[in-house]
Symmetry: C2
Subunit: 223 residues, 2 copies
């Protein structure tokens, strides 16, 4: 089998990687040692060839006819996702979403540790949410230089969010998970993921009504 | 121009629709009347032909050489997303994430109205978060039959989430936005969107380290 490392993973493949990782974690925990691509496909609701295609893109993990070793495959996908080590997170904005994320129980088990909160409200500075202390955003750079983080989660109002990118990047942040309702931009070597909660609801209503949409006569088309 | 209504919109196209809608809302608000696909492409960071391809898939909204009417295009995409009407939401699970979503300010302006919260904690029943009252989950079916909702948002622990699907569907829910860390399943005519917050962080770390991944020698490959 030849290693075929893709130039850049497709978005669809990238979205499947965490799902593979979750599935394999589950399978390992219930005692699976080896696994065929067919069985993995069945459990994931994918096709056999989709799975082989994904794994081959990263160099392949299996031997023809022998299937995959579950523990090895899980570790390998973990390496690719870079989650076999701890990542420190700062949350900027200790409002409702920021606090909820700081108390979210699912992160630590996957190595994502929220180590600090920032807010500009003096009434919140010094408080703790989920055991994480709130610092003033005016001390953010100093604080992050002392205790660096890998990822910043932005949960501020939209109008102040972009101004946070530069100081965060200057403090060494390499990834931004943005919940503010605005598309943030930054330097090329910093990855910014803009969440847009409302977009996710729009995609849900789109899919709920997709059939009707497809049947709908497009009255507004200008021929 | 021929109407070409796709059998099923691609995932990538579906993800772009809310972004188009946001961009057009912004453009309309600052006074744009007509717009070329070139200008829209520039603002969206897409190519001209990507945009024409997307819009043609839904029947086309423009006239060759004249561009698009911003207000019409926005309304049309809103129709496709089915957001030119109100949607009522129930949030099941009044924990940190559920409360944060009930207080999230971005939903109402797009027609998404959280009308009720449910929880099984007697200490929370009767309380209000973001003006929304918490009801006991044991009265959920009755409550939803009296005051139906279109969408349920599940923000409970993972182990109780699947058991909520059947009563929600029986009460007329057609879409489920699931934040519990488990893939929920349901009847074919109900759309379930499983969020997996940790997956989103994994995709972020994947992209942060993508270059290294691509260069990495795959030591575990069995040739």
């Amino acid at each position: 089998m030849t290693n075929r490392i893709p130039e850049r993973a497709s978005d669809a493949m990238m979205r499947r990687l965490p799902a593979y990782y979750r599935q394999l974690t589950e399978l390992e925990s219930i005692g699976f040692i080896d696994l065929s691509s067919k069985e993995l496909a069945r459990r994931m609701g994918l096709t056999d060839s989709q799975i082989r295609h994904d794994f081959n893109a990263f160099g392949g993990f299996g031997r023809r006819g022998r299937g995959y070793n579950v523990a090895l495959l899980r570790r390998s996908i973990g390496d690719i996702l870079d989650i076999n080590r701890k990542h420190k997170l700062a949350i900027v904005g200790a409002g409702n979403i920021g606090r909820a994320l700081s108390m979210y129980s699912g992160f630590d088990s996957q190595g994502f540790h929220v180590s600090v909160l920032f807010d500009n409200d003096p009434a919140l500075v010094g408080k703790k949410f989920g055991g994480v202390r709130v610092y003033s955003v005016s001390n953010m750079t100093k604080q992050l230089q002392k205790n660096p983080v890998d990822i910043a989660v932005i949960t501020t109002p939209a109008d102040v969010a972009q101004a946070l990118v530069e100081p965060l990047v200057a403090a060494g942040v390499k990834g931004i998970w943005n919940f503010a309702a605005v598309d943030l931009t930054g330097p090329e070597d910093v990855i910014i993921s803009n969440v847009h909660l409302t977009d996710q609801l729009m995609m849900l209503t789109f899919r709920m009504h997709e059939k009707q949409v497809m049947e709908q006569k497009s009255a507004w088309v200008q021929e």
